[in-house]
Assembly symmetry: C2
Homo-oligomer: 447 residues x 2
């Protein structure tokens, strides 16, 4: 009954029943998502996806954020979802290393634009879609992730289907089928990390989940127990799992509140190390430094162990490069992760001074750093909760600054400011038509 209970929960949770703080966090999640999507929208991989839609002559149904093109619903979900994950700068549910907005937000915006839905409807579906996928992620983490599945897309496809299903007004049976159709498309292997295909995952999950809901709406039948069946999602994709977690304390606990926003443009696993190196930067000048030793959680080397990255993208999977630029520049934004930077002599020199030690006792959100200076003295520092974590969250002001830094370059300041303002008041608007109009260079709109 896990699947059916989840469907019942989603369909019986009205917008009014969602706590204020969850709605606020939902809007901030969408703000953060839109920023990273627009920021990466001119990336070559987005050009390639759009070239394919051009070859396919898709209809102009929904916008690509940060660009002028419109494509059909399914392709908009794919492309905006991909775009938002390119910089590895999107949101993270730290308990499961899940990026919840990626598979869900592109679906609610595509349907919202196409069907002329209200901001409240969009936010409502978004929150429930995220809640569903995160609870499913809780149920299969960590064995599922450790086996090699990219949990964002494998569970995200359910979130996308739930969100789409709510907006398409599916009934209980249809939404159950939508989850069946979604679950049997669940996919995404961690092997492709470090290539253009990683960000493709949340996009594909969005597209597959949306297709599932579109089909279920027409009456397309599927399993009614995709999560819990013997050959269903959990048993096949997760060596260990606890499906109790899917429905426990529904409406009381909100997983979306555990969604965090990244201050740095790389995997969350590197953030404590970046904080530590930025801390050192203000205390040690490069000339005085002999070496930096970082004691880290095992995931750091597993996920970001690349010793000599060859591209900016690969730099995001290198703790050595990342620690080096954090110490040299005091930051780890998109400006640091460039193809030039990974070849920079000074950075390469600095990388040699970084050593990493795995320590099982160190938690994922922690790091211990020791800087050894040329004069033999040492500076040690422990980061307990990286910036951007739940305990040390980004403030709204910081989120707005992150949004501007990502959006202004593509759309200009006036569009950027208007969009941010719109998104933080999303549920007050009867339609998102205005938001779509702002998705142009230097658009000024009266409120």
């Amino acid at each position: 009954m896990v699947t059916k209970t989840l469907v019942n929960h989603c369909l019986s949770t009205s917008y009014d029943q969602i706590p204020q703080e969850v709605k606020l966090h939902g809007k901030r999640s969408l703000l953060n998502w839109m920023g990273v999507a627009i920021g990466a929208s001119t990336h070559p991989s987005i050009d390639m996806l759009l070239e394919v839609t051009k070859d396919l002559k898709t209809a102009e149904q929904a916008s690509i954020f940060g660009r002028e093109e419109k494509v059909d619903l399914l392709m908009a979900a794919l492309i905006n979802g991909t775009s938002s994950h390119i910089f590895d700068y999107d949101d993270t549910h730290l308990d499961t290393i899940h990026h919840p907005s990626g598979p869900v937000a592109p679906v609610v915006f595509a349907l919202g634009e196409h069907l002329g839905l209200s901001g409240e409807e969009i936010l409502h579906a978004f929150i429930l879609g995220c809640e569903a996928e995160l609870r499913i992620a809780n149920a299969v983490y960590p064995s599922h992730y450790q086996l090699g599945w990219h949990i964002t897309s494998t569970t995200g496809v359910f979130g996308a289907a739930i969100a789409a299903g709510i907006l398409l007004k599916l009934d209980r049976e249809q939404l159950t089928w939508a989850l069946g159709i979604a679950g049997t498309q669940s996919s995404g292997l961690r092997e492709v990390f470090g290539t253009m295909t990683k960000p493709f995952h949340p996009g594909k999950a969005a597209q597959n989940g949306l297709l599932a809901a579109l089909l279920a709406k027409k009456g397309f039948t599927s399993s009614e127990q995709i999560l819990e069946a013997k050959r269903g999602f959990a048993n096949v994709l997760a060596p260990e799992h606890d499906l109790e977690k899917v429905n426990v304390l529904w409406g009381e606990d909100w997983e979306l509140l555990k969604n965090s926003f990244k201050p740095y443009a790389c995997g969350i696993v590197l953030h404590p190390s970046i904080d530590a190196c930025i801390y050192l930067q203000s205390r040690v000048s490069p000339e005085d430094l002999q070496s930096i030793e970082l004691k880290v959680h095992p995931y750091v080397l597993e996920l970001t162990g690349k010793e000599t990255p060859q591209t900016g993208l690969e730099g995001k999977f290198s703790v050595y490069f990342t620690a080096a630029i954090a110490f040299l520049d005091g930051d780890a934004s998109e400006r640091q992760y460039t193809d030039e930077k990974v070849k920079n002599e000074k950075v390469l020199e600095m990388q040699k001074k970084i050593s990493i030690t795995i320590d099982e006792a160190i938690k994922e959100e922690e790091v211990e750093v020791t800087a050894i200076l040329k004069d033999g003295s040492e500076i040690t520092h422990k980061v307990e909760h990286a910036k951007g974590s739940i305990q040390n969250p980004m403030q709204e002001k910081e989120l707005l600054a992150k949004f501007s830094s990502l959006v202004e370059g593509n759309l200009g300041k006036s569009s950027s400011d208007s969009m941010a303002n719109f998104l933080l008041h999303l549920d007050e608007y009867p339609s998102i038509a205005k938001l779509i109009l702002m998705n142009q260079k230097n658009k000024v709109l009266s409120k």
Copy 2:
């Protein structure tokens, strides 16, 4: 190097290097595939898929076989691939319970129509796509299937990508990426068997594989070792596997030659039981029969153990219903698997007389039957190789009769005959434009 070696093999195998008998079997596979696709093309699930494409306003790039609609390349791959698996009447590679044409044929026909390719090009890509997916299936069967994966779609996505990649003239690097993009979309859970979502699997594999090749052609990067990497396809989706099987004896052994065609409109696992019951039908009249006991391979109850199917579709997953109609009607074609038939009193009465015993010593292609008559006498019979198996294959005449029986109802006799003739000489035609013209009701064409 498994992935790269496979790519090298596919790109270095010219049409001339393929043995004559493989080409012939390839054409027969396409004939069989087209028949089942057209036969099921008016199924409600195809109507639903087409309604979705209508909502999406897809471009008219490629034909839906058996119907008038044209849709874009990706949707054509999805819909024709789905159609061909609806009747559970398509081809089967018995060693892996794989239906090789399903994910590959819709891709080569969609691209062939859209790009104006020759019959030889289409057949070439089809054969290599099937060969690749079947070899990958060999490498992961049976653990992969037993875990709950629908091997047709999970490995079929690679075949689709290879076939599309060859037709799109990808270079080695691009085709390797295409396999990466394809593999990370690998999906399809056996839990959905018995619903409309089962036939959706080969369609989705076709669509995903085609998308992978379209993207790789634009330069979309991905893993270059998706099959063998630590977190790649085999390690994540198959508890046990032997990747040696992917490339062994390439060009000498042809897995496609092991592709068999079904004389009956249900899973191959039931065919020995059907043969046995048809055997009994000619020897015992229903009035004299007390009971039928079938000793079967364990898969029979695992896959088709439904005791009281409620729909014709569910009937295909019931050895009880299937044995009953085979004994009563002497056949198990689409005409038997109807919603009326599963409610029929006489059939229900007959089902009660069927008992099934699992016997580990019985092979998948075997069955032992004992009929107990009311007068106390017994008739026993052993089926060693079901009709349609490699050892007891359907002849070309029988294949042509199967094609007509599936196609004439939708397109009429003249179109049916012309299409069959075209497909058996596919590689002689400089384009498939004529075949596409035949995809209309009662079309008469001069040669």
